[in-house]
């Protein structure tokens, strides 16, 4: 989660929101959250799990 926050603080073009899946079950279901962390980019579920910073950035920008 922290990596997404860091990207947002470093770029005015990026927003980052953590969403507590248990408190927002309807949205979690829409985003097919079966494992956490689940990463959603521009409203599209992309991947699950933590990855190193270079890989995180590569995946985000490739989305």
């Amino acid at each position: 989660m922290l990596l997404a926050y860091k990207l947002s603080y470093a770029s005015e073009l990026v927003t980052a929101t953590a969403i507590e899946a248990n408190e927002f079950p309807q949205l979690a279901q829409e985003m097919q959250v079966w494992a956490v962390p689940r990463i959603v980019v521009d409203g599209e579920p992309r991947w699950d799990g933590a990855v190193p910073e270079p890989e995180f950035l590569r995946r985000v920008l490739a989305s």
Binding site: M1, L2, A4, Y5, K6, L7, S8, Y9, A10, S11, E12, L13, V14, T15, A16, T17, A18, I19, E20, A21, N22, E23, F24, P25, Q26, L27, A28, M31, V33, V36, P37, R38, I39, V40, V41, D42, G43, E53, P54, L57, V60, L61, S63
Partner: protein
């Protein structure tokens, strides 16, 4: 119940003492979605206020403000972590408890830094970004 264990509180105070910018926690409370079964009788709105006000007591440059249904918050409760009181697009929707309290603390520390803690090559790559990006990360407290 204390927010942090004594040794954790000492460490967090040290981190918050090093904030180079003031950081504001804007807590948004309002109508809440019905959580999954098992959440018990937790008053999420009251609890997030307790968490954020409790953190603000640990650092002179950290403040907490509570608003009822402010603009820009699609879900409640939530907290926006704002360097110099500015909306930088960083938010936690829900109650940051358990392991996720560390994410909130980490966001505060990053918001208070003069320079990003991202790697230089990441910053260089990010500087080439030419479109808006919305990152949502679904988490659970355990």
């Amino acid at each position: 119940m204390a927010l942090l264990r004594a040794e954790e509180e000492t460490k967090v105070r040290e981190w918050f003492a090093e904030l180079e910018h003031p950081v504001e926690l804007l807590v948004a409370i309002g109508p809440e979605e019905t959580p999954l079964a098992g959440a018990g009788d937790v008053d999420f709105g009251a609890e997030i206020v307790r968490v954020c006000e409790g953190l603000a007591e640990l650092g002179e440059r950290l403040t907490c403000r509570v608003e009822d249904e402010p603009d820009g918050f699609p879900r409640f409760p939530a907290v926006s972590i704002r360097p110099d009181g500015r909306d930088a697009g960083v938010r936690y929707d829900g109650l940051p408890w358990g392991y996720e309290l560390a994410s909130l603390v980490g966001a505060i520390v990053e918001a208070g830094r003069a320079e990003s803690s991202l790697r230089p090559d990441s910053l260089a790559t990010l500087a080439e970004l030419d479109r808006n990006l919305a990152l949502d990360v679904f988490v659970t407290p355990t």
